[in-house]
Every structure is written in structure tokens, then in C-alpha cells.
């Protein structure tokens, strides 16, 4: 039994569990599910069948697996005109960086299972989440293609506008509890979630994450009708798959942050002792909430079209940014009044 316990301890050693199991495997599973859900839900709204023939019995669930296999076996073409080193490294680094925030957030209130000391976890997680877009811009630049460069520049514009808002509105949650510790933020929500206390900040964060992670149809940087695939125009095979996956993984990471900050984290459940009650169940609750959030993101695809770049920026600075500021003010007010 010691062996089992040892293995469990290794698996549930927070950096390994959160980075490898949730960050890599979990996010892959969630992305597979979300992409399937996105395709199926959009198909339903659009009166189609969606993925089907890959596995008719389970309604085409493994479609993304099939896609990934295809990407994996495709030849990776590296054009002669690109800056090969950066060209290859950029998507890989971007993918790693986009799941890194998961490794620094607590998924339980049991201090034994915190990956890092928690006092500044909100700040650290948000800071890490802002690094990956740089590599997408870099990918566009290294591709040495007009569409890539236009796409990269667009990415830069959109990220500048929306990432700031996302950070600001997630920080609103920590402003309410006057702490940068995610555990404090979550525990303050045991009675009432911040989505109800501070809907403005949640809405701003929702919109900002939607735009910043550029999923269809908000993929202004890679909008196919003007710039083919934006920064990824020259990519092929696995590298292209990584690029696409990075956006979803980043969305997953940000969704986890949002679930912790607004949806009460593991809220109805009180983590106890031991691996099962202290770590596994709360982390699954958080992931489930993040998944629901991602389903909401995915659904917008079937209703909306693409924003124009200048309209998206205009909306960011004139509508969503003030909304985030108001949300922040509301958070401060709530902190002052001591609502939580």
C-alpha cells in the first residue's frame, strides 16, 4: 500500500498534478470536449449535424482526436523565407506559457496542496497569462508574410486592449477581499459568489477573455476572410495545431482564473483532509465551472459574427474598459462597506 500511496503522492504533488495532469492532460481533455461541444452546439443552432462520421455512436466526440492525429502526421513545412528558430519555437513556447497560469493557482483551500505560497497568487497567475501573446506576435513576425504581419499587429492591438481589461476585472475580485490570495478570494465567496456581487466586473472579464483568446468568430487577428490565418498563415502540421490549441488552452487557463474569482471556485464544497476530499474533488469542481464558462464562450460563436478591428478596440476602450473600472470601483465600495 505504501507504493500506491507513494504514487498517489507523486501524482498529487501540486506542481505535477496541476501542471501535468490538469495543465496538459486535463486541458487537452477539456479542449477536446469544448471543441466537440462548440461544433455540436453550433451545428444545432445552424441546423446541421456537426461531427458525426468519426464515431456515429458517440455523436462524433473524438473528432478533435482525429484532427490532432492528422495534424501530427502532416509534414511540417518550414518555408525558406522564415526565421526558422523563432518560427519553430514561438508556438511551442506560447503553448507552454498559456497553460502555466494553472500551475500557480490553488485548487483547494487545503494548504498541503498549494503549488506555491499563495499570498500573491492572483498577481502571479495574471502576470504569466500575459506573456504568451508576445510569442504569437513573434510567430507572425518570424513568418515573414504579409498576412502574418498584419495578423500579428492586429493581435498586438487586441491583446493590449482586452488583456488589460481581463486583468483589471479579475483583480476587482481580489480588491473586494483586499487580498491577492486566491484562497481568500474563493473563501469570501462561500456565501455569495462574486458574479452576483460584481456582475460588471464579471461581464467585462467575460468579454475580455472572449476577445483576448480569439476564438471564432472573435479571431480578429486570424480572421480568415482578410488575413487567411493571421500569424499562423505559414504554419502547417503540428505547429499549426499547437497554435490553434494554444488559444484554447489559454482560454481554459483564464476560465479557471475566472471560475476562482467569480464563480466561487470550489465554493459549495469545503475541502477536507486527504487527497480525495482535499484536492481531487475541489479541483474537479473548479474545472467543471471553468468548462461551463467555456461552453458559454463557445455558444457566442453561433450567434455573433466578427467585430471589425477598430470597432473591437473602440468597444474595448469606450465600453468594456469603463465597465471594468466601474466594476473595480464597485469592488472597492463593497470592500469598504464590508459586504463579504
Amino acid at each position: 500500500m505504501d507504493v500506491v500511496k507513494l504514487i498517489l503522492d507523486i501524482i498529487f504533488y501540486p506542481p505535477i498534478y496541476q501542471l501535468l495532469l490538469i495543465g496538459l492532460v486535463g486541458s487537452l481533455v477539456v479542449v477536446i470536449f469544448i471543441l466537440w461541444f462548440e461544433r455540436k452546439a453550433t451545428a444545432r443552432v445552424q441546423r446541421r449535424l456537426g461531427p458525426y462520421h468519426v464515431a456515429p455512436r458517440v455523436a462524433g466526440f473524438p473528432q478533435l482526436v482525429a484532427d490532432l492525429v492528422r495534424y501530427a502526421f502532416q509534414e511540417v513545412i518550414i518555408p525558406r523565407t522564415v526565421d526558422a528558430g523563432i518560427f519553430i519555437l514561438a508556438p511551442i513556447v506560447a503553448t507552454i506559457l498559456s497553460i502555466l497560469p494553472i500551475a500557480v493557482v490553488p485548487l483547494t483551500s487545503n494548504p498541503g496542496y498549494w503549488p506555491v505560497p499563495m499570498d500573491y497568487s492572483v498577481l502571479v497567475a495574471l502576470a504569466i497569462s500575459t506573456v504568451s501573446p508576445i510569442f504569437l506576435i513573434l510567430a507572425g513576425w518570424a513568418s515573414n508574410n504579409k498576412f502574418s504581419i498584419i495578423g500579428g499587429v492586429r493581435e498586438a492591438f487586441v491583446i493590449t486592449a482586452y488583456e488589460l481589461i481581463a486583468i483589471l476585472s479579475i483583480l476587482a475580485a481580489s480588491a473586494t477581499v483586499l487580498s491577492f490570495n486566491f484562497v481568500d478570494v474563493v473563501e469570501a465567496q462561500s456565501r455569495i459568489w462574486f458574479i452576483i456581487l460584481n456582475p460588471l466586473a464579471f461581464l467585462a472579464a467575460f468579454l475580455a477573455v472572449l476577445m483576448a483568446t480569439s476564438g471564432f468568430p472573435f479571431e480578429i487577428p486570424e480572421s480568415e476572410n482578410e488575413v487567411v490565418a493571421g500569424p499562423f498563415t505559414e504554419y502547417s502540421g503540428l505547429l499549426y495545431g499547437l497554435n490553434m490549441g494554444a488559444a484554447y488552452m489559454k482560454r481554459f487557463a483564464l476560465s479557471i482564473l475566472m471560475a476562482l474569482a467569480f464563480l466561487g471556485g470550489w465554493a459549495p464544497y469545503t475541502p477536507g483532509e486527504g487527497i480525495l476530499s482535499g484536492y481531487l474533488i475541489p479541483s474537479i469542481i473548479v474545472i467543471a465551472k471553468a468548462t461551463v464558462l467555456m461552453m458559454a464562450f463557445s455558444f457566442t460563436r453561433s450567434v455573433y459574427g466578427r467585430f471589425r478591428l477598430d470597432q473591437a478596440l473602440d468597444g474595448a476602450w469606450r465600453l468594456v474598459f469603463p465597465m471594468a473600472i466601474l466594476g473595480f470601483g464597485l469592488a472597492l465600495l463593497e470592500a469598504y462597506l464590508g459586504v463579504v
Partner: protein
């Protein structure tokens, strides 16, 4: 004259919450279809549409009705229908005669149906299917013997379920089993 131009104006958006109703409407509509998609997709190789008899599918020749007039070849807009010379023995007189027979090249046919409509004796007719695949181009150039037999319908042969589409007021089109049974 009963037609007339009518100048209309776009409804202007006013106020701070002008977009609100539009957003709510769109999302509600999306959710409505998420619950009830009203789809009528044809799952093709498993099902196939049983088309009306009037459908202009592949063209086949009744050789006994043909009077060798070559009207069909003359009207064919794509020059798919051509006449070939064949020596034939007349069953009554027993004389061997040179006769012109139509053959069709499905590489070129555009299924306009002119030949069927122009044939003075209704020797040409269409079969109500068109989903036939050929492995090479030469197979599509039909000779006289092939032309007199209706081609095989592969989907039907492989056990596809015949369905029909009927126009419906609620759902646009409704897929119905060709026998009359309600489909999916």
C-alpha cells in the same frame, strides 16, 4: 402597372441600450435552435433521396423506339450526344443497312434534357438518379449497348434508405421515408 418602387428607411439605433434588445433577441433565438435544431440533413450514403420521376437524371435509350433521326445529337448543347454508324440487318427485308444510332458521352453531358424533349418518338427517357461514380473517364463514354440499359444506382443497390423531402410550414423541409413513414 401594379409594381411600384417604395422608398424605405432603415430604423435608426437610438439610445444607450439600443443594442441590448438586439443582443437578447439574437441569443434567445440561438438558444431556441440549440434546443430544437429543426434540421433535415441527409446522411447520404446511408440514405438517399428518391427523386420524382420527372427528375432529369441519366438519359437512357429505348432502342426499339428510335427512328435514327439524329435530332438529339443536333440539339445537344454540349455535343455529348453523338451519332455512330452501325450496320444493321432490317428484320423485315433482311437487308443490311448502315444506320445512325445515338450514343452519349457523360463526360460532357450537362443534363439539360433537351434530347429527351426533342425526341419525336420518346425513345429517350431519364432515370431519376444521377449519383453514379465512374472510375475512369473512358467508362463515361457510353456505347450503344450501355446506352440502352438503365445504369445501376449504386446507393440503392448498397441498401441506402430512400427518403423524400416535403415542404413543411414549420420546419422548411421534412425528411420522410419514401414509403410514407415519418423519418428522423
Amino acid at each position: 402597372m401594379t409594381a411600384r418602387p417604395v422608398v424605405k428607411r432603415l430604423v435608426k439605433r437610438k439610445g444607450l441600450f439600443a443594442g441590448f434588445k438586439g443582443n437578447v433577441d439574437a441569443i434567445t433565438l440561438g438558444l431556441k435552435y440549440l434546443v430544437d435544431p429543426k434540421r433535415f440533413t441527409l446522411i447520404y450514403p446511408n440514405e438517399y433521396i428518391k427523386l420524382d420521376p420527372g427528375y432529369r437524371g441519366f438519359i437512357v435509350l429505348h432502342k426499339e423506339k428510335c427512328i435514327n433521326c439524329s435530332s438529339c445529337a443536333r440539339i445537344c448543347p454540349a455535343a455529348a450526344m453523338r451519332m455512330i454508324k452501325r450496320q444493321e440487318q432490317d428484320p423485315k427485308t433482311g437487308k443490311v443497312k448502315m444506320k445512325l444510332w445515338p450514343v452519349i458521352n457523360y463526360q460532357r453531358c450537362i443534363f439539360c434534357g433537351y434530347c429527351v424533349d426533342v425526341c419525336p418518338t420518346e425513345a429517350l427517357y431519364t432515370v431519376p438518379y444521377h449519383d453514379i461514380v465512374y472510375e475512369n473517364m473512358a467508362e463515361m463514354d457510353w456505347g450503344l449497348e450501355t446506352f440502352t440499359r438503365p445504369p445501376e444506382h449504386p446507393v440503392e443497390k448498397e441498401g441506402g434508405i430512400p427518403v423524400k423531402y416535403i415542404v413543411d410550414e414549420e420546419r422548411g423541409l421534412v425528411k420522410v421515408k419514401a414509403e410514407g413513414e415519418e423519418g428522423d
